[in-house]
């Protein structure tokens, strides 16, 4: 890789006294899908939050497009184009679908708001049908589409997706992975955190397994899918 979009070196982060990440290294190049796998509670969400500035970085370095972002607050990180679609969707429940989407361009992409809205509606026709409905009354799958659509409204250079298939029916999970592939095919770099291991490996350029606050296993999606250690790492044996 001669060009990196996101580069993480020796990242340490956690909550108060508890360290969750203990020196983590990670790279994402433009146009890649990088999957981060790991069992529950290993710190995948903490990693995403540290990248987007919501959780304070204890030590280490995060560079995005060459610039240090580890000391920046979330608004500045969003402005740089690193956009995090969080676990649990975190949409604005008592606002309409359209208001949610519009707020996606609060910090970035505002000049192209109308065009981007059109693009999101083209990607998710269901959201267009429900543009006036209050977001809290959407189904779980629709809420996930809204969360991703809201992320797209900020014209991401890197999109972080934290368990986008959580709580979706098998058919919708298929659709979600197809969508991730399509977004990536349009050139978007994606950092994907998932529990659906095999599907993630199938779509990912490269993948990492997180354990004890560090990356313990890395490789291309195909390599990891073949690797017998994957299961061990996953089961924590």
């Amino acid at each position: 890789m001669d060009e990196v979009l996101l580069s993480v070196r020796g990242l340490v982060a956690g909550y108060g006294q508890t360290q969750v990440l203990r020196g983590l290294d990670l790279d994402v190049a433009p146009g890649e899908i990088v999957a981060v796998l790991g069992s529950n509670g290993v710190g995948k969400t903490t990693l995403n939050k540290a990248l987007s500035g919501v959780v304070r970085v204890g030590a280490g370095e995060i560079r995005f497009g060459g610039e240090r972002i580890d000391a920046l607050a979330p608004p500045a990180i969003v402005a740089a184009g690193l956009i995090h679609v969080p676990e649990g969707r975190r949409i604005f429940p008592d606002m309409s679908v359209q208001e949610n989407l519009e707020l996606g361009s609060f910090r970035r992409g505002k000049p192209n708001r109308a065009a981007n809205l059109e693009r999101v509606y083209a990607t998710f026709p269901r959201l267009r049908e429900r543009r006036g409905q209050s977001a809290g009354t959407l189904s779980g799958g629709e809420q996930q589409m809204l969360a991703i659509g809201r992320g797209m409204m900020g014209e991401p250079r890197l999109l972080i997706l934290d368990e986008p298939s959580l709580g979706l029916s098998p058919l919708l999970v298929e659709e979600m992975f197809a969508l991730i592939g399509r977004l990536n095919a349009d050139g978007l770099a994606i950092l994907l955190v998932e529990q659906n291991v095999m599907q993630s490996l199938a779509v990912a350029t490269r993948a990492h397994v997180l354990e004890n606050g560090r990356i313990v296993l890395s490789g291309t999606g195909a390599e990891l899918a073949q690797n017998p250690d994957l299961e061990k790492a996953y089961l924590g044996m």
Partner: protein
């Protein structure tokens, strides 16, 4: 029984009083809804704004004019107090915020006491004793003006919250702080803006109240007690709830004054309060738990 004219007059007078209740309550409920704190400095800020309007009048500026700079000044003051005092001093802990605002109110009240003693002061304005003649009832001009100004403020607030990005950001932060951060909304800034809007609403209330009321270092307390009632009645954090609740409480107070006697006017407020909460524990406009 009273003649319909008298009853209608009491209702109208109640609406006029209720408008100021609504304004004071909207400020309280907005801050609660977004910052999830009860601002104990609410009454003290109202008092301070009334003193500001009082001294502006001493300097020859009518409150209806001075509101144009007192409200922005209180917005800035509220913004600064939240951003650089309440926020940092509370370290993100809700219980600390409560204590910080309580401390703030004690400081403001005592500074006012030290400076102006507990004397009660009032002002004379040319329209102070004018009335609006509706044929069957005379309405006092200062309170009609207060009602009109409140309506304008309510409309502006509504437009802000539903039509502007800042207003939408305020609503977003109220319900989903993490989601708001992740679209790049500066939550600390929005907290301070909201607190500033609350203080500005209080400043407007102070300016429209002064011509028909009085000011002393404790004057805000009476209004805040009513405002707490209104906020709970309307549903904690609900802006429309506080508007309707304020008007309702004004009318109830006026009518129970008519039927039970002036000194028992407040009795009706608490009867309605208890009744509504028995039927709808989350208030008139509160989200069902």
């Amino acid at each position: 029984m009273f003649s319909p004219d008298i009853v209608i007059a009491a209702v109208l007078n109640g609406l006029l009083t209720g408008a100021v209740y609504a304004l004071v309550s909207v400020a309280l409920t907005l801050v609660y809804g977004v910052l999830h704190i009860i601002n104990f400095a609410h009454g003290a800020i109202l008092t301070a704004a009334m003193f500001a309007a009082f001294f502006a009048h001493q300097a020859g500026i009518d409150p209806l004019l001075s509101v144009l700079f007192i409200a922005p000044a209180f917005f800035a003051l509220g913004y600064a107090v939240q951003r650089w005092i309440i926020g940092p001093a509370s370290h993100g802990d809700d219980r600390n915020i409560l204590l910080v605002t309580l401390g703030l109110s004690i400081v403001i009240e005592n500074v006012l006491l030290a400076a102006f003693r507990s004397d009660t002061r009032s002002i004379d304005v040319p329209y102070g004793f004018s009335v609006v003649d509706l044929g069957f009832v005379f309405l006092p001009m200062p309170r009609v003006i207060a009602f009109g100004v409140t309506c304008v403020v309510a409309a502006l607030l509504w437009a802000l919250l539903t039509r502007t990005d800042t207003g939408k950001a305020i609503r977003a932060v109220a319900k989903e702080k993490l989601g708001a951060s992740l679209v790049g909304i500066d939550v600390t800034h929005i907290y301070a803006v909201t607190f500033g809007i609350g203080a500005a609403c209080l400043a407007v209330a102070a300016c429209v109240l002064l011509p028909s009321y009085y000011v002393n270092p404790r004057v805000g307390t009476a209004y805040v007690l009513v405002a707490f009632t209104v906020v709970v009645l309307g549903g904690m954090g609900s802006v429309p709830g506080a508007m309707i609740g304020g008007l309702l409480i004004g009318v109830v107070e006026s009518l129970s004054g008519l039927y039970f006697g002036e000194s028992l006017g407040q009795l009706g407020i608490f009867l309605i309060f208890i009744l509504v909460l028995l039927v709808r524990p989350t208030g008139l406009f509160g989200a069902r738990a």
